[in-house]
């Protein structure tokens, strides 16, 4: 199927007009759904949950599209919404399971091995468990850097954190994961 070329500048312009916004946002969904899904999935772990959070992310972006003036990159804006939605979802799930908000997110990986949409081996299960022990911001930094290979500069815009602090955060995350493996392997 021939795909329309994605021109972000033109898309942002079209998003600001009532008669072109819906078609433009459809292109935004097609362009970013996969990237945002994987970012969300690595946070919430479960496929169905990731699908729900992704839908909420796009609905929230669409209903507040009038507030997006194009000062930041569209991707940055969408990432921020996706991260907020993911954290809100995890906190709700913690509340449902009577888990303190201060506790780590390892409960999310409890049913990973029986998950229909996970076919990783024991080492990959262990890695997901190790990542889930990290504080939320460190998890985000690790996932963005390790899996998405995102530049620290881009990460800095999304997370409103300095590049130096992000590098330190990633370094600490790697050390904690290695320690987790040393303890559980």
């Amino acid at each position: 199927m021939a795909r329309t070329t994605y021109d972000e500048t033109a898309i942002i312009e079209q998003l600001h007009h009532q008669n072109t916004a819906r078609a433009a946002f459809s292109q935004v969904i097609e362009h970013y759904s996969s990237t945002l899904y994987w970012q969300i999935r690595r946070m919430v772990i479960d496929h169905d949950d990731a699908s729900d959070v992704l839908q909420n992310t796009f609905i929230k972006a669409w209903t507040s599209i009038d507030h997006f003036r194009g000062d930041a990159k569209l991707s940055t804006w969408l990432y921020k919404i996706a991260i907020n939605e993911s954290i809100t979802f995890i906190n709700k799930k913690k509340a449902q399971n009577n888990i303190s908000l201060d506790d780590d997110d390892t409960f999310l990986t409890n049913s990973l091995e029986s998950d229909e949409w996970f076919d990783g081996d024991q080492a990959q299960v262990l890695l997901q468990q190790a990542i889930a022990t990290l504080p939320e911001k460190q998890r985000l930094v690790f996932n963005m850097r390790y899996y998405d290979e995102m530049k620290y500069e881009d990460m800095s815009e999304i997370l409103n954190t300095s590049v130096g602090a992000l590098k330190a955060s990633y370094h600490h995350a790697v050390k904690k994961i290695e320690a987790f493996f040393a303890e559980h392997d």
Partner: protein, 136 residues
């Protein structure tokens, strides 16, 4: 840039083990696009209305009008206007006489100028109406 190296992570690679159903994204995208609610978008290049464009000038004009009106009211209650006019007349008379005297005394004015000035003064005196004295 220093790259973080980890033997464990190098061994595991970038595959997280997460999968999605076949055709998930195509189906997801289409369902989402079809279910997007209606939203109201303000066109960014929408021309501002006449009222919006004229409003700042009207506010400015109203401010000046207000200041002018306040000054008039203030002057009215203090009687400043009549008093100022009288003071100006007196000041003009003193100034004119002083100037003429100074010019004559300093010799700057010619004989013709002096004669013309004296004629005008005499005319002014002749035209003045003598006040009637009360009859005893």
């Amino acid at each position: 840039m220093k790259t973080e190296k980890s033997q464990i992570l190098d061994k595991l690679g970038k595959d997280s083990g997460f999968k999605v159903p076949e055709g998930f994204f195509e189906q997801f995208n289409q369902q989402l696009i079809d279910s997007l609610p209606d939203v109201q978008i303000t066109d960014v290049d929408e021309k501002p209305s006449m009222w919006v464009r004229v409003r700042p000038y009207l506010y400015m004009a109203a401010t000046f009008a207000g200041i002018w009106a306040m000054m008039n009211v203030f002057n009215h209650f203090n009687g400043t206007t009549d008093q100022t006019m009288r003071m100006n007349e007196i000041a003009a008379g003193i100034s004119q006489d002083n100037n003429a005297d100074e010019l004559i005394m300093s010799g700057v004015a010619s004989d013709y100028d002096i004669l013309t000035y004296e004629d005008s003064v005499n005319n002014d005196i002749a035209n003045e109406v003598e006040p009637e004295l009360p009859n005893n």
